[in-house]
């Protein structure tokens, strides 16, 4: 009997392992994949779980009105772990504007989808490190039109998925750069529903680019079926050695209720520089000078 239970446990574990993509490995989309298989790869790519580490400079642009545009700039380092219970660790430092320059955030993200992130903050006005509670998932990411979940905490396990079909993307005209992007790209179209009851959206339609494995376009619907938010993500394949890493280089979001827009641009992206885990510690936060 004990042997049978052990065998069953082994099989369950094996099934669990098969469901999880291997950290540090690149996956590409293939014809005939199920919605779940596609979305696992999308999340794998979203959090760059295929690489060892990544560093980039980011710029958040708030389009409050045609005449008022505000900016925040930051530098982000991320190390992919996939061990000791951790998925990745991330260090973000705000570099602009001066009023918030120096604010730095250390995040440890777990492999377990049920666990919240551990978050530390360097507060320039107090000149101290402060452990803080993780932001709520539906809170605005850095005050933008993105939620925290849309940028950094949503996991594969948070939704259920259904493949609607395979279509050519009509293209997205970037309002910030005024250029047509991804027109005619072959995509999987997936309908996703949040598992949480009474969440801020009821459904989203996700367009996944077959070439890059990135979710290039999302439409968010409320309980009454009204479209209230559109997100576009520009994905590129960045050559690192003999590999092509799928990389988000720009995001645009528009809240159709307020007509407020936010753009996030990523540049100077560097992969696999050999960042040490010691960079992602409280000690690094305490080095802050600003």
């Amino acid at each position: 009997m004990r042997f049978l239970l052990a065998f069953l446990f082994f099989l369950l574990n094996l099934a669990g392992f098969a469901q999880t993509l291997e950290v540090g490995k690149l996956y590409s989309l293939k014809e005939g994949m199920s919605a779940d298989e596609i979305m696992k790869i999308v999340y794998h790519n979203k959090y760059s779980l295929f690489c060892k580490d990544i560093t980039f400079k980011g710029e958040v642009i708030y389009v409050d009105s045609p005449t008022l545009i505000r900016k925040r700039k930051y530098i982000k380092h991320r190390i992919i772990l996939g061990r000791d219970g951790f998925s990745y660790k991330e260090l973000t430092a705000i570099t602009y504007p001066t009023e918030v320059k120096g604010l730095a955030i250390l995040v440890w993200s777990y492999l377990s989808p049920q666990k919240d992130q551990q978050v530390w903050l360097w507060l320039p006005t107090l000149k101290k490190v402060r452990k803080i509670s993780a932001s709520q998932d539906d809170d605005a990411f850095m005050g933008s039109d993105f939620t925290v979940e849309e940028v950094s905490t949503r996991r594969f396990e948070d939704e259920t998925y259904r493949l609607i079909g395979e279509k050519k993307f009509a293209g997205y005209r970037s309002k910030y750069k005024n250029e047509m992007l991804f027109k005619g790209r072959d995509c999987f179209v997936i309908e996703a529903h949040p598992k949480k009851a009474h969440w801020y959206y009821d459904k989203r339609i996700v367009w996944v680019d077959k070439k890059t494995g990135g979710h290039i376009y999302e439409e968010y619907f409320d309980k009454r079926g009204r479209l209230f938010k559109k997100i576009f993500r520009k994905w590129e394949l960045v050559k690192v050695g003999d590999k092509l890493y799928p990389t988000q280089t720009a995001l645009e979001v528009e809240d159709l209720r307020t007509h407020h827009r936010t753009v996030i641009l990523m540049e100077d992206i560097k992969y696999d520089q050999g960042l040490g885990e010691s960079l992602f510690t409280v000690k690094t936060l305490m080095r802050s000078r600003w």
Binding site: R70, E99, K115, T125, K127, K128, A140, G143, R287
Partner: protein, 459 residues
């Protein structure tokens, strides 16, 4: 001459290392105005104009130099008519002595060893706004506890070494040969402590009756052997983070002693006084911790933090309400427990409970006194603080409110709203309301509610 040398060094470094040079700064004007006039203060308490510049020179991958000057001038003293407060222009009207230099340090960083040498701030503890373990730096309480703590702390020249024997553990060693005394506003200023005003008033009355008060200030001599030393061990057990702290040296606060008294009128307290203000050797031993609940359950999203400090041999005042009679070394125990959580999407709630426990409530028949007011204190003083913060308009508008309450129904409520007019122009509106008994820490300012308006241009 020192300033000239420093500026020359910086200019040379800038010219040779321009691509590794970074700067940021601001120009700020702030107006502090009293709401209710009790004839002891004027409406315009302060019209402070500040220039602040932070610069960083990256000399190499592991070496950086940080330089941060700040200057201010308070126009209130020029605008107002001559009155009692204008006597304080010398102390509060402009940048004092070496205070213009907020930071000036050289940083060496590596995986296992970080060394910071120069003028800097070191912060201990987990509490917000309650400096129980945060006692490494002296404080400038000219505006009570109403400013940001980074501005309240007085930076010191020191050496800070952080050694990491393992990934998430560090041993911090502090050697502080520099000494600055904590200070408060002089008598008659908008936020001068009651104890200071009482002392000043008594000195004047005593003089009328033919007495005198000769005050001598004893600072620890600036010798290496008088350096303060500190150790802090920080580590994690799972996701439970803790520190163990020890600090030894002269107290940054000066304590008042009556060395001799000769009455000029028998049976009264009028006479000739020899008063001294002394800094005493003392130990601070403590620990702090924090833990965020990240697993599913009713506590998920909650962060608990705390700190404890044992103050050994801290001079303490004993006497009657409003009258100090003795200064004796005693022990104190203090701790804070804090609970933080985000609720309703983006409303941050932070609740703190603290106790300040005196080892001896009475001494030679006298009662323990509040250092700032000479008010009577309980053996155990209880404090509650609640901070609520949120943001609107895509973080353009950030309001927050802080309530501080003591079990003698002494407290304050401070409200602040910050508005981003443009990326580089920020407006702040603040309000401070105090209540409590006249000898309470906050109650002493109960007729001293203030509104604050601030315009800040950053570059």
């Amino acid at each position: 001459m020192k300033k000239l040398l420093l500026f020359s060094f910086l200019t040379l470094t800038f010219l040779t290392q321009a691509k590794n040079f970074e700067y940021a700064g601001y120009l700020k004007s702030e107006v502090w105005s009293k709401i209710n006039n009790d004839n002891s203060h004027l409406f315009l308490s302060s019209f402070k104009n500040t220039f602040d510049l932070e610069t960083e020179f990256k000399l190499s991958e592991n070496l950086s130099f940080f330089f941060h000057p700040r200057f201010f001038y308070d126009l209130a003293y020029d605008i107002r008519n001559q009155d009692i407060f204008d006597e304080n222009q010398e102390k509060l009207g402009h940048t004092q002595r070496g205070e213009w230099l907020r930071d000036c340090f050289l940083d060496y960083t590596s995986d296992t060893l970080d060394i910071r040498i120069g003028k800097q701030q070191v912060v201990w503890g987990q509490a917000d706004g309650l400096p129980f373990l945060d006692r490494v730096m002296p404080f400038d309480l000219s505006y009570y506890w109403l400013l940001d703590f980074a501005d309240i702390r007085i930076p010191l020249w020191m050496i800070k070494v952080e050694y990491s024997p393992s990934l998430n553990s560090t041993l911090q060693f502090l050697l502080i040969p520099d000494f600055e005394a904590s200070r408060s506003a002089p008598a008659g200023a908008p936020f001068s402590f009651k104890a200071v005003n009482i002392f000043d008033a008594f000195e004047k009355v005593n003089k009328k009756y033919g007495g005198s008060m000769n005050t001598t200030i004893y600072r620890p001599p600036k010798k290496f052997k008088n350096s303060r030393v500190g150790l802090r061990w920080r580590s994690m057990i799972g996701d439970f983070e803790y520190t163990l702290n020890w600090l030894y040296g002269y107290s940054t606060s000066a304590y008042t002693y009556t060395d001799s008294f000769t009455p000029v009128i028998a049976g009264t307290f009028f006479g000739n006084y020899e008063i001294s203000r002394r800094h005493k050797l003392m130990h601070i031993i403590g620990f702090s911790f924090n833990k965020s609940f990240v697993n599913p359950g009713i506590f998920q999203g909650l962060t608990i933090r705390g700190e404890f400090a044992y103050l050994h041999n801290e001079p303490t005042y004993y006497g009657m309400e409003g009258k100090r009679r003795l200064t004796e070394k005693t022990d104190k125990y203090t701790y804070v427990l804090g609970f933080d959580k985000y609720l309703f999407t983006n409303w941050f709630f932070s609740l703190q409970f603290a106790q300040y426990i005196h080892d001896k409530k009475t001494f030679s028949g006298y009662h323990v006194l509040n250092t700032y007011t000479y008010g009577l204190m309980d053996k155990v003083e209880n404090y509650l603080t609640l901070k609520i913060a949120t943001d609107f308009m895509h973080e353009r508008l950030k309001p927050e409110v802080l309530v501080v309450w003591n079990d003698d129904n002494d407290g304050r409520i401070s409200f602040k709203a910050k508005y981003e007019l443009r990326e580089n122009v920020w407006l702040t509106l603040g309000f401070h309301h105090f209540w409590g008994p006249p000898y309470g820490s906050n109650g002493q300012f109960r007729n001293n509610d203030h509104v604050v308006f601030e315009v800040k241009y950053t570059f």
